[in-house]
Amino acid sequence: MANFLEIDCKLEDIIPEKTRKTRTPQFIQARTIRPAPPRYRNEISKYIILRNEERCLKCGKCVEICPQGVHVKSPGYKYFAQPQSHLCFGPVCEKKGCYCITACPEGALHIQENPMMKALGDYRWPAEMILATWKMAENGECPSEDYGYDFETGNSEGGFDRIRFKFPDRPPVELKEEEIDTSIELNRRHDGRPRIRIDVPWYGGGMSFGSVSNTTQLSKARAAVAWNTFSCTGEGGFMERMRPYDDHMITQVATGLFGVREETIQRVPIVEFKYAQGAKPGLGGHLLGDKNTQAVAKMRETVIGISLFSPFPFHSVYSIEDHQKHIDWVKHINRRALISTKVSTPNDVDMVAVGSYSAGTHIIHLDGGYGGTGAAPDIAKKNIAMPIEYAISKVHNFLVAEGAREQVTLVASGGIRNPYDVAKAIALGADGVVIGTVEMVALGCVRCNRCSAGRGCPRCIATTDKTLAAKIDLEWGAQRLINTYNAWRNEIVSILCRLGLRSVSELRGRSDLLMHLDYTNVVVEREA
């Protein structure tokens, strides 16, 4: 449980009765890792195994030799099922002595690289990173080395893809994995408001009802409960059915103020002001008309079928003292809430951050330019905001110089794709990160960038169409995310072990542990 109740006064003294009255028992989600196999019968795989039925003797040699269970012949059936290609390690099996292709006495099996690998993903999210994330979501572990997936970096030739850890050959101190602390504190101001700690150094980013389906939102919320961290409503109202997750939700107050009421502000332990998104700074928010269905319009109290715009900026905030007034307002309404201020990364992001700190924010949330899904215009994505890796260190260093670093929590988002990105962001100076796209990928997103079009999402994640949304089972969705979080945490623990650090807090600001390939004389071999 988030320890938000650790406050000097009783809830009934700080929250009006009518808001408290609607509090429901909070949902309990165990942190259990269970398999959550793909939704589709034939998940996209790196390799494709083809079986020549005419030659196949049905001898079962392939079944015996394959450690992955690619070949399945159910009892009582005459023929093999289609090979489960997504489980296949590929030609590496030859070295391991479990290569079905050569083992087949009749040469009935054939392997080839899936041509889909060329179409899937993009430079920032290469196909292998997507497949690896799916594996994490399925099993709760990073995929075994045998798969050969490179998920540590993408191919963008910039950003985190050009940054590597300088791992020592052996750890400077031997640490046990159980000793490693991955939690971070969200309130460092010591202002009498709750000192909330989350167990993993990330929380889920804001995705509105409208941009994604409620099933997606609930899956995110359940994962947040399981891992004692947070998820965020985004700007589209805070649904009644989310009440059992109130203690793990951040509600967003964004420029359109859609669905924001005093009650929604009073329900949660953290309120986030969204000034801008790194993927489209200065452009506000958009929900195109087709996704604005009856339910979405009801939640936002608008008319159906009309594209909804969140303006840029807040019309009531044109300067820092307005921002302070804005923060004071929410602090007045919700006396236990922490305030997070989400800004994009302009050139003077350091000044913005310090200004926001002095205006009373608890969490500074920097949203860099690498994030964004289909809903952000291509012209904006990656082209406006400062790259997040520069912004983090710029802000971190400035906060240190101003003597404010220990009083504020700095989180970064915008293209945090894997546990290595998390560790790099922290080493650059952030306390933690906020994730977005990766949760969509864990739910089956293929990065087709069609999030905003029509009723959204061929993979039924970012949709408001009730028929599409029903294709995802909530239990499954939650499990996929819980599993992914587990894989990430394990990987971060192992990174910390390799670096000989006991906690993520020790990693913060250790940019000396990083190297940037543009400025380093190291040849990094990419796996073919």
Binding site: D13, T19, E263, Q266, D328, V354, T467
Partner: protein, 893 residues
Amino acid sequence: MNSDLIQRLIDSKKKLIDGFDLPATVRKSEEEGGCGVVGFCCTEPVPGKHIYEPSKQMHNRGNGKGGGIAAVGFVPEQLGVSREILEDHYMLHIAFLEPDAKDDVEKGFILPHFDVAASCMLATVDDWKTIPGLEVKPPDVCRYFVRVKKDVLDHFIAEHKLENIDRREAEDEYVNQNSFKLNQMHYSAVGDKKAFVLSHGRNIMILKVVGFAEAIVDYYKVRDLCAHVWIAHQRFPTKGRVWHPAGAHPFTGINIALVHNGDFANYHSVTEHLLQRHIRPQFLTDTEVSVLLFDLLSRTYHYSLEHIIEALAPTSELDFDRLPEAKKKLYRAIQATHIHGSPDGPWFFIIARNDIAQEQFQLLGITDTAMLRPQVFAFVDGEVQVGLIASEKQAIDATLLSLSKDDIRICPVADRFWNARGGSHTDGGAFIFNLTQESGRMRMTCTDKFGKLISLPMGTEPYDFASETYLAHKVDAGIEKKIRDFMESDAPGLFRYLRDHISVWSYDDLRAACRMITESVKNTNTFDIAIKSLTMLNDYRYPMGAKKRSHILHIVGSELTRLFQSVPRLDADQDAPGNSYRLIDFAARGALRAPQHDETTLVINAFGFPPEGDQSDASLLMDAYMKGWRRFITFGCVGQRYIGNGLGPETDDVVIDVYGSSGDYLASGIDGMAITVHGNAQDQLGQIIKRGKLVIYGDVGQTFLYGAKGGEIYVMGNAAGRPLINSVGKPRVVINGTCLDFLGESFMAGDPHNDGGFVILNGVKFDDDGGVILMDEPYPGSNVFSLASGGAIYVRDPGKTLIDQQLNGGMIEPLNKKDWELILPYLEENERLFNIRIEDLLKVNGEKRSPQQIYRKVVPFAAGKSSADLDDDLLDDEYLEEEVAYATGVAAA
């Protein structure tokens, strides 16, 4: 001035700049967002202590890391010089960050070039740490009264071929360039900042500190120093560590001081514009650049004030199209030359100026064309006149209160309050208070950008607030009996009786009558009647004969305050049976408890409460609500924010009445309660309001009802810029005056005939007798209902002045019967609340017309669908039913 001479002036600056080895570009080094600004001018020289109160009131607009004040128009005796020296000599104020720099500065930049008529170090308190609100020791400041030595000036004129320029102008330029050099040598160029020029105009002074502005008044002991014009600035630099005040406002030009709220998006472009004219910033802030621009336009180009303002805030859109052809041509030329030097972004300037050429002192307020920063102007007429400009109305009220305590001829209620609209079709976004000598005494006028005088109420008979005669004044026995009768049962009757007699009574009659009312309260019933009747006198408009409305409001307001203060205290030991009102104030806040017995109404004296935070009156109100109080009166407000916020959902049984200078965010997010503001209101009212009733007996400020979702809202006067942006749901709003601009942008409030929202804009104002005047043009702004997708605006526009060009996504439709039936109940309630009769609204030139001829409807061009239009498979009914079930807890299991 011909262009050749202008060129020579500019060339002289080039030589100056070339004398230093400077990098080609200038980068802004200090970011800042906003601040609090205030300025006032008075026909009497008034002491510096009066800038103290408004500065203190706007603490929450600064962060204590920079404050400054400026003053223009001193009393020579106080400065120990003759009037001639004060008026003719430059008053150099130089700040020494290192005391030992003084010798160097004087040897290098004062003694060789100037004849010094007088000089002195400014007195300070001994220990700066004794002054609250100071972060760093303020600089030592020396004041010099100087003229440029004759031979030095001769040489300067000869060197730059300025013979054909007025010798005094050449001297101005010399002083300007000398200050530049001084700053360059002792401030900009050196690692250790040693000294810089605070101000170098005539009869003008600037002081600044790292700390809050009001600390200057105490530290430099200028509490009693008198001047005609004062301006102050609370700064909110985002940089945490500031160790000297050079970056604080005001900044100086020759004979001007400027403070600024906002920031520029195009600092680089504006700086380039200046660099092309060889003007180089040294302190690297937006504000410095602003004053350099103003100085360039006025002193080098010799533009008139109108044209300076046009160059700073260019006229655009519909406002431009509506200009006369000749003016269009001229403005186009100004814009073509200066558009790159015009600051882009939210900004508001307050400028104090010694206008030598016109022999007047000036106080100016100029807003950007989109009116993105808050600004309020006020005028107090009378024997002593006061003009005021501030970020918040409450700062104006605080100044006037402070002034009135010192000079009883000044009424603490201004005769007129108004906002500037950043468009040249109306006022041009700027107002100028001019102080000139008229037959031996100083008089003040206020004009807009075009020199058009601001009209003031006609009432001329002032009241002497110092007189105590009303205390002994006996009202007629008949009057006394009448009042006593009404006090038993009839508040409206009492109000009508008073109202109908005000114009014939003397002020003493009125004051004595009001005092009689407040003295004769004894129980809940009489309290009710006294409060109601006096409140009606405060709220309504009625004929007052020759009396000044501001003075009547002050009398009534003072009596109301007195009445509220006489309420039995909540922390008193003795119970007060028969009186259900209880008073609480800051000192007694710890005594808050649940209501007992028949107690119903908590009267909160807001004075003394901080404007926000745990200790604020709004927090106390929230606590009181949680303890069971439902009826509130908040009075004595001095800018307190968030009144009525935080009470959460379903507050239908809550009623709040607010008196005084209430602050920002009032009634934001309310869900069910009723709030009445008895007077003008400030900015960001009713943000995300959900349900309930908000009534404002006056004007309302910026960003009114942003993101509103519902509620019934009535405004007696005007709304400033950007009302009802991003409103959804079903807000129903009546604004009786007008709006500055951007009304209902992105309005998404459904179908008005199907439980959606709408705005009724009546476009009326009041004459001096309280009668309704119908404005010729209900909506002068360039944009209305832009990008709207739902709802409607009903505009009272018989002259059909609203045109398509103002609409960006909306269209005008005639009013139909259904529309009239929809809005009529709201107009009826409006009539009941404000006495603005539907009968009057339906008249044109005294003739009654049909509603269809009077009101026009603005609707979205592309309207959304309603669920009735949807196919079955697109309906989410089941889902929505579930939501309701979750809300009521049925589905929680």
